[in-house]
Subunit: 104 residues, 4 copies
């Protein structure tokens, strides 16, 4: 399993939930993410998770399984994930450099 460092931005939704309000589900998975040792940042359209590929993708899969155990029959996820070899960059680094350039 690859161990390359990645930044993965994850947007998960349950399908077939009766209600269009899914904040219970989002709170369930956000708790799971925060219990993991991986660094993460919540935003309104997902959560960015940072770490080795195997741990990040393992965590997302575990959350799918956790959702199913809690009664969510179908989970649909969009992941934007990037890796690079020229330098190490955190999620916060990406924001900082853009804000700095905007203010110039």
């Amino acid at each position: 399993m690859p161990k390359i460092f990645c930044l993965a931005d994850v947007c998960m939704v349950p399908i077939g939930t009766d209600s269009a309000s899914i904040s219970d589900f989002v709170a369930l998975i956000e708790k799971k993410i925060r219990e993991s040792p991986l660094k993460s940042t919540l935003h309104s359209a997902g959560t960015t998770i940072e770490g080795p590929w195997d741990e990040v993708m393992g965590l997302i899969g575990e959350i799918h399984e956790h959702g199913h155990e809690k009664g969510y029959v179908r989970v649909h996820t969009d992941i934007r994930v990037g890796t690079r070899t020229d330098k190490h960059q955190t999620a916060q680094d990406k924001i900082d450099i853009v804000l700095k350039k905007i203010s110039q």
Copy 2:
């Protein structure tokens, strides 16, 4: 052109840029987004834009064209967009309800 209110989370990358560092491009488009009257929030994997469908999608298209004018030959974008009829919800509302439920 549809005018339904939407929340659109946009991640734009240029392809064929010589350098793997794209913060100049991200700063360029983030400035354009902030010049628009639409409410937006930057995060490390994109920017969330709120407003009527025609204005939001028009803005994203204008940014593609703006990027091309500035010399970016190819622009590749991922948009997560949602609409709903049961209630009006802002990007901040979505975060607030999840944080409240997590803390319970």
Copy 3:
């Protein structure tokens, strides 16, 4: 509204549907896409639509509204969209060139 040619790959899911089976919804939107004059191709994870930015994004918004009219309270969509200025390329062109290079 921008008129630049784009290729947009669209994955739409309804949220709050009671059932985890959403093929009725997908058939509903696929019909709508096929009624439009824009060229499109269905695959298992979405539909690729080709045409001017305003028409493509207008169509996707109309489908959101159409879904709401048919009783779907919330629609969640992921769009991968690209524009380029170096050459005109259709969805089929993209597949053809890759298949040709694989077979070499």
Copy 4:
């Protein structure tokens, strides 16, 4: 590592490639996908891969690493992935049911 069956639709682009034409890269990764034992289907906006979570996500990570070994400094990927517990469904099943409902 989770082993739940998933359908993952993957769109990978290299960043910092000098040229806006990325079919060499796409052919490189498509070859890698086809060498794996997992079932996959190419379309113009990505490739759908079917199999256990650990194998599918492991393969995508290996392709990132393979791209880096071949000189691609940065790889940016969008993954749409779904799991469900109510029934087993292949990528082809999803298309078949929609086409059947459209023709009715």
